[in-house]
């Protein structure tokens, strides 16, 4: 079951990501992103992060994607020119070394990390909730996150606001 869910959601993620990168049409890419994000959520569940999977679905699929679709509406039709030739050079430049780097990084990590099978993961909601409010744990990040969101909110509102004065 675990194996199946990994392969299924992993496949969703991989295909979604590929399509995001390669789809010529923006709308298609956006929906591919949704697919990939759902895949990631599935992988989270497979990794025992049930709460996280939920958050991923809610925030990403439900929130961020909406934002993007809003953005897509700004785009004039046919504005996304795209051809393989124009992508090849920067793509190769960017991707190949990165692949090598990440491969090496993983090879190194593989030799170090000792997988510990701590059994089937337990539901995490409770622990996460406590963690957020525990002085010794994630209280400060939690509070700071609120500030970030406030700043982001205020900032985006300011930026998106049409000028009243003009």
């Amino acid at each position: 079951m675990e194996s199946f869910s990994f392969w299924f959601f992993g496949g969703c993620t991989l295909i979604g990501s590929l399509l995001v990168a390669l789809c010529p049409k923006l709308v298609h890419s956006a929906f591919s992103l949704v697919l990939a994000l759902i895949g990631v959520a599935g992988l989270y569940w497979g990794l025992g992060a049930d709460f996280l999977g939920g958050v991923q679905l809610l925030v990403y699929v439900g929130g961020i994607t909406i934002l993007f679709i809003y953005g897509i509406m700004l785009t004039p039709k046919g504005a996304t020119k795209w051809s393989l030739g124009s992508l090849l050079f920067p793509g190769v430049i960017a991707v190949v070394p990165l692949c090598v780097m990440l491969h090496l990084a993983w090879k190194g990590l593989e030799s170090v990390i000792k997988p510990v099978d701590a059994g089937v993961p337990q539901p995490t909601v409770d622990a996460i909730g406590r963690g957020f409010l525990n002085r010794e744990e994630y209280l400060i990040p939690f509070e700071l996150a609120s500030l970030v969101l406030l700043a982001a909110l205020v900032g985006s509102v300011y930026l998106a606001r049409r000028k009243k004065e003009s």
Partner: protein, 725 residues
């Protein structure tokens, strides 16, 4: 009380030295006052007159009275012979101690010392040395200087820089007297250069004209060449003996000669080479100052200065300073060095005399004559005729000064220096004519005139030297003898062209008139001195001739190298032979003159035509000037220009470029691009800017380029990491 028992002579000497300096200062600082501008000659005349008096006093006590009871300086404690007994010239030194047997008095022994510098290693205690040579030189210089001062009062009358002329004369007198009085080689060098500067300013006195500034610069530069050699010589001497004090150098060399010390090894040379090289380096100074070939070129040009200057500086005193200096450090010269000196003197005597034959400028003929006579002196010193050379200096000073002043008088009368525009002036300028004739006789070496004595001594020594050294070494003697004829010929030619025959420029002839007494009196005094010679045994010299008192020091360098003093006095027979020979030569010279100029059978033009190539060469002064111009001068200018270009284009650029790290990076960055090297500093086209602008191309403004760069950057850093790890 004996004059030389205490410090009194030092005060006299200081008076001699400093009075002219004070006169210079007076004239220099008051030159704006009415008094100095109009009567600028009074103070100088007073000072130089007083100096003359003091010099006479010293001369009287040192030479005439022989008040020399005081023990000499330095290592001469063993020596107690009275000065007069130093006797025959060039006597071989006593065996054993090589202390200088000659009498000398040093002010240091009496506490009159001026410590001019002391670095802990080099210490210069300036003192005053008086010996017979000094006393004689003092007298010559002060006397000629006084007469020239007097002469100039009239000659320079009305010149707008009248007072300044006297100021420089004073400064010159100061320097020249200092040169004579000092007992330190480095200080001698100082005064040496100072007289050069005075000469420079006096040659260039009429600087508005075209010629004098050039001539003055030429004089100074030529001398500078010699001086640098001199300086290197001093450096070598200091390196060898650790001192520049003449007495200490003497003592040092004495120790070497007596085998008590050894010279420091330098350059791996042995002592002989070292001493010879040092001696020759030192000699380059006199070579330039005394106008020896090939550094003689400045002297004829120096005639561009006022004539009294020519008389004082370029005939009587300064140019003779070289000879004096060689005499002063005579003990230092090795036989090789002396032979070189003799050679140079010979060449100079000959070359200058031949040029004198053809020149038409009255002063230049005299200048070449001076040159030639200085050659004689050097020749004499070189062949071991120490006293002969210095005595010739003494006699020459008077008759040559007389000739120059006479020439000045002529020029004053006819306002030209070209003898082709003169002629027949005998009647118009009787005093000048007569005095000049006497001086000519003296210069020509006509017996019983002063010049004859010194010249014959020279010839005698040259013959002796040639005899003892082999046939090839007879050349100096031959030149010395033959030169006498040439000298007499060209001098008679001068007299003829100036005073005899018909006036060739009627206008000038008519306006000519005899000079005022201020000019003629010095002429007469000098003429008297040209005739009256202390070459005779003089009663007031205790029955000695003056040259006998100018005894040579022990030839320390020769002794140190194992040579003895190898020639002695020639004896009466030789002297008589020489006298006869000289007379014959003079007669020959006179015949030649008479035939060519008086009888015009054949006239000079014919000779010129016959000897065309030779005449061309000689009248072009043997192309010395051209040679120097084509080599040294051109080379210097070319070097200067090339280096200046190099400096501005290359050094600047390289330093600017390399100085920034930019250059290094640029090599990699812009291998295919023009490498601009004018550096960081220039606003455009610097390496850094080239680099900078190349960097700017990265800063495209396109966001995605930046992103790609950043990703590439990560790869780059990774590579860097893998490489460095």
């Amino acid at each position: 009380m004996d004059f030389f028992d205490d410090a009194t002579p030092a005060w006299y000497a200081l008076a001699i030295l400093l009075l002219p300096a004070a006169g210079f200062c007076w004239n220099a600082f008051t030159y704006r006052t009415e008094f100095t501008r109009k009567r600028g000659h009074i103070v100088p005349l007073l000072t130089i007159g007083t100096a003359l008096f003091c010099a006479l006093t010293i001369f009287k006590h040192a030479v005439i009275d022989g008040d020399v009871g005081d023990t000499p300086h330095a290592a001469s404690a063993t020596h107690d012979a009275p000065a007069h007994d130093s006797g025959g010239a060039d006597a071989p030194p006593a065996a054993g101690s090589l202390a200088d047997p000659r009498w000398s008095w040093s002010s240091k022994a009496h506490g009159v010392v001026y410590r001019i510098i002391d670095t802990g290693a080099l210490r210069i205690d300036a003192g005053i040395t008086i010996d017979h040579l000094t006393a004689t030189m003092l007298l010559v210089v002060t006397l000629v200087a006084f007469l020239v001062h007097l002469y100039s009062v009239s000659y320079m009358h009305g010149d707008k820089r009248f007072s300044r002329f006297f100021a420089f004369l004073q400064l010159f007198s100061f320097s020249m007297l200092g040169l004579i009085l000092t007992d330190n080689l480095l200080l001698l060098f100082c005064f040496w250069e100072l007289v050069g500067v005075c000469s420079y300013f006096l040659i260039g006195f009429w600087f508005e004209q075209d010629e004098p500034p050039k001539a003055s610069m030429k004089a100074f530069m030529t001398n500078r060449f010699g001086d640098v050699g001199f300086l290197i010589g001093i450096l070598l001497v200091y390196r060898m003996f650790g001192t520049t004090d003449l007495a200490e150098i003497y003592a040092g060399l004495q120790a070497v000669a007596e085998g008590r010390a050894a010279l420091p090894p330098l350059f791996g040379w042995e002592a002989g080479t070292l001493l010879t090289v040092a001696g020759l380096c030192l000699f380059t100074g006199p070579m330039a100052k005394s106008a020896q070939v090939p550094l003689h070129i400045w002297l004829p040009d120096a005639m561009a200065g006022p004539t009294p200057v020519s008389a004082l500086i370029h005939a009587a005193t300064m140019v003779a300073a070289g000879v004096y200096m060689v005499g002063r450090i005579y003990f230092f010269f090795t036989p090789t060095a002396l032979a070189f000196i003799a050679g140079i003197g010979t060449v100079t005597a000959l070359v200058a005399a031949t040029i004198g034959l053809v020149h038409n400028n009255i002063k230049k003929v005299l200048a070449y004559s001076t040159c030639s006579q200085l050659g004689y002196m050097m020749l004499s010193l070189g062949v071991g005729g120490y006293s002969a050379g210095l005595f010739h200096l003494y006699t020459h000073a008077f008759f040559k000064a007389c000739l120059f002043l006479g020439a000045g008088s002529v020029i004053h009368a006819v306002h030209t220096e070209d003898m082709r525009e003169m002629g027949g002036l005998k009647s118009k300028l009787p005093v000048t004519y007569r005095t000049m004739l006497i001086a000519t006789m003296a210069l020509g070496g006509v017996p019983f005139f002063s010049g004859a004595f010194s010249k014959e001594m020279i010839v005698e020594h040259a013959l002796m030297w040639g005899w003892s050294h082999g046939l090839a070494h007879m050349l100096p003697a031959i030149v010395a003898i033959g030169g006498g004829g040439l000298t007499f010929f060209y001098m008679m030619r001068l007299i003829y062209l100036t005073f005899y025959g018909a006036p060739r420029d009627q206008h000038k002839f008519e306006h000519a008139h005899e000079s005022p007494p201020a000019m003629t009196i010095p002429l007469m005094v000098l003429a008297f001195l040209s005739f009256f010679s202390v070459g005779w045994p003089m009663p007031f010299l205790g029955g000695h001739k003056l040259p006998e008192l100018l005894a040579a020091p022990p030839a320390l360098a020769s002794i140190a190298l194992g040579h003895g003093a190898d020639h002695g006095h020639g004896g009466f027979a030789l002297a008589f032979g020489v006298l006869v020979l000289s007379c014959l030569v003079i007669v020959f010279g006179y015949r030649l003159y008479k035939q060519t100029y008086k009888d015009r059978n054949p006239g000079p033009e014919v000779w010129v035509a016959r000897l065309r190539p030779l005449h061309t060469t000689v009248s072009n002064l043997y192309y010395f000037d051209e040679f120097y111009r084509a080599t040294i001068v051109r080379f210097s200018y070319a070097t200067a220009r090339v280096l200046a270009l190099f400096d501005s284009k290359v050094i600047d650029a390289i330093v600017n470029g390399v100085g920034t790290v930019g250059q290094l990076i640029a090599a990699g960055f812009a291998a295919f691009d023009r490498i601009v090297v004018d550096g960081l500093v220039n606003l455009n086209g610097t390496v850094c800017h080239a680099l900078g602008s190349r960097l700017r191309r990265l800063q495209t403004g396109n966001l995605q380029d930046y992103l790609a760069f950043a990703v590439g950057g990560m790869a780059f850093v990774t590579l860097l990491f893998l490489f460095l790890a």
